[in-house]
Amino acid sequence: MMIGREPLLRADGVTKEFFGVTALSNVDFELAAGEIHALVGENGAGKSTLIKILTGAYRRDRGRIALEGESIDPADVMDAQKLGIGTVYQEVNLLPNLTVAENLFLGREPKRFGLTSPREANRRSREILSQYGLDIDVTAVLATYSVAVRQIVAIARAVDLSGKVLILDEPTASLDAAEVSRLFSILEDLKARGLGIVFITHFFDQVYRIADRVTILRNGQKVATRPIAGLERIELVSMMLGRELQEQEAHGAEPVDYSKKPVVASFEGVGKRGRIAPFDLTMHAGEVVGVAGLLGSGRTETAELMFGIAQPDEGRIAVDGRPASFSSPREAIHHGFGFCPEDRKLDGIVDDLSVRENVILALQARRGWAKPLSRKEQEEIADRYIAALDIRTSDREKPIKFLSGGNQQKVILARWLATDPRLLILDEPTRGIDVGAHAEIIRLIGELRERGMSLLVISSELEELVAYATRVRVLADRRHTGELEAGAITPDTIMRAIAAGEDETPGDRGGKGRAAEILAEGAA
């Protein structure tokens, strides 16, 4: 396309080592003005590292970066921002203690008479966010909003900051379909204005939908840069993995009557005022209940009540037919529950501890402090899951904070698998996980189900739900509005059920419009 002309942003021979482990070796990268350039690769391939180097968050060991032909050397993120490069890093790096507006305008607060003007910042924030269909109180602190909202705010900030280049590292990891299409239309606009956009994702659909070119990284090396047009999907995957990927079975699970199977736990009229309306849910052994809904529909809240993180103010819980109540996750775990949380950075990883320690943490906590797992047992468990989930780490003793985002996610998953729970709740388990591992996790869920584990899986990825769910709970506006039985589960039916639920209970997000949007989206 733009060949011949000087690219907007260009990196030559970028190399980066961390404590002797090579994360990037001799990577070249080119971004043209007015293009959307996808960056793909397995977990730990070096994508995030590359963009951190481009934006001055890391120093490179070797290599050259040029913006519009001029050699640049951003010493920190501020430098990069001044050069017109706006970035959303993988872990949503905003400040939960500041308001939405303050987050949007940090570092470039609107001023009046030399002093900052919060009023003006609030006004402009509302304006900006409305482009993303987000009508929220911008004077509330960010901590009160869900991961998804934070993600949108982060994107809005980066877009607003980027004069020339916009870099997005897995921006869509926790967005639903409607949010994604809104984001894409904004990206198209920016592209038309001549911005260069780097877009990292593990969703190939999205790559094909929006990108002009794609660069593939593998093991810290660049494999190729290709125009999307004419690139076969199979080819893309094999370039990324360095091998062929077995074709995913996209059909749903066999319709089996699970109601005959033993009941692991039942929840009757369990609810919490202001959080989630009372719901009934019976979990049988050997079934996977998928949970679908829009952002903020109350999926996470449902899980939190089931796991004792929040206490219901009404309803009955029974485990193995006996009444139970848990006031803390610890008690839930003693009943054989497990919960892999959505926000891995805040609720998941214990960042200074090693991969080994992170894996065995829940198991050890359940055994009690007096019965330590021996070092050998710990190593065995860790090694088993590092192999099973293909966790990319140079060493099981590496602090988890030095792993790539997707690999951290796998470690947290391993933590819960290691406890071998009877009821496992997974909140967005495949967030940020690459295609290879994604297929692996879907296979794993199937296997656990066959072994008789009961699973509740929350996911925004409908295809994924279709692949493993034996039934699907549908939530809208903090209510359980419906359920799809095995056999009737397709992305389209789920979408319709969500939309129907939204229409029933027009909530703060303007139900009608949303429902129409979702359906339109589903049709596209």
Binding site: A57, N93, L95, N97, L98, L106, D137
Partner: protein
């Protein structure tokens, strides 16, 4: 809503009013302009220093050196004006420059050497008091005319209370602190660093400059507090203001600022100072407590304030949760 962010602050204010009311019920004399004037004047130096401490704590740090810096300032001023014959105004300028530079140095060590603020400022605490000792171990009176003038500047309120220069200066510092915290980029950056240093860095906040400025500001205000203290006592003494850092920290925290950083208000600090002053005044008015009961009662009152505050905030969080549409 913003009002919910201000809730802890409002709670603290209400607690203060109730407590004052209770005191008056027991000792009607406490409702006099003298007591009000005293609250401001007696706590002026602490208030000024606590404003600086608020910024430090908002950024997630801590400054243990302020008490020593106050002592150093006093001794330096006394000896400079007395023995060395430095003109008073010049001495004031020099001492503020010295303390500010001292704070900047601590900030630079904290940032560039990645050392914990607690320890850097602990060393700073030893150092500043040590320097005060080196200048003079005696308590040195200050006799400059400037001091007489400033001490003579007060407004006599009806009822005999005095609104003194240093009391008003403290209020002015609090006001400026509020503006600095909430209406400048520097203020935003302080909150940002306190929220999460790494994120702030990735959002382009100038960490190095802000950190150095924060500690420079704190030491500058400690210097100013030292000047207020020397006006208060007309003397410099190297053993003065021992433990003031803990009083300041307590005031900041009682005022609703989180020690983990990123959340709190300068105005809250003023309330914290007033609450602590009220506790002391109450104890003196009571006048029956032995030395040891004084300590125990201060501890208990401190505990009740904090527990009450937490209880109210907790209750309101529950109420607000329930008020949302189910």
């Amino acid at each position: 809503m913003t009002s919910s962010r201000l809730f802890p602050l409002a709670t603290t204010f209400v607690i203060f009013l109730i407590a004052y009311g209770l005191c008056i019920a027991e000792f009607p004399n406490m409702l006099s302009t003298r007591v009000v004037g005293n609250l401001l004047t007696d706590n002026a130096f602490l208030g000024i220093a606590a404003v600086g401490m608020t910024f430090v704590i908002l950024s997630g740090g801590i400054d243990l050196s302020i008490g020593s810096v106050i002592a150093f300032t006093g001794v330096f001023l006394a000896v400079a004006m007395g023995d060395w014959g430095v003109p008073p105004v010049l001495a004031l300028v020099i001492v503020l420059a010295l303390t500010t530079a001292f704070g900047a140095l601590m900030g630079a060590m904290i940032h560039y050497l990645a050392m914990p603020p607690f320890i850097v400022t602990l060393a700073g605490m030893f150092f500043a008091r040590g320097m005060a000792f080196l200048i003079s171990i005696d308590s040195v009176p200050i006799t400059a005319d400037l001091y007489d003038t400033l001490q003579g500047l007060y407004y006599r309120m009806p009822g005999g209370g005095r609104l003194t220069f240093i009391g008003v200066a403290m209020l002015a510092v609090v006001l400026l602190g509020i503006v600095l915290a909430h209406f400048t980029s520097f203020g935003r950056n302080v909150y940002a660093i306190g929220g999460n240093r790494q994120s702030a860095e990735l959002m382009g906040v100038p960490i190095a400059r802000t950190t150095i400025l924060i500690y420079a500001l704190s030491s500058f205000l400690a210097g100013l507090a030292g000047i207020a203290f020397s006006l208060y006592t007309s003397a410099g003494y190297s053993l003065a203001a021992v433990g003031v850092e803990l009083d300041a920290i307590a005031a900041v925290v009682i005022g609703g600022t989180l020690l983990t950083g990123g959340s709190g208000y300068v105005a809250g600090t003023l309330l914290g100072i007033l609450i602590m002053g009220l506790i002391q005044t109450y104890i003196v008015f009571d006048g029956t407590l032995s030395s040891w009961w004084t300590k125990i009662v201060i501890g208990l009152l401190l505990f009740s304030f904090i527990a009450l505050q937490r209880g109210l905030v907790w209750l309101s969080a529950r109420r607000r949760g329930a008020a949302m549409p189910a």
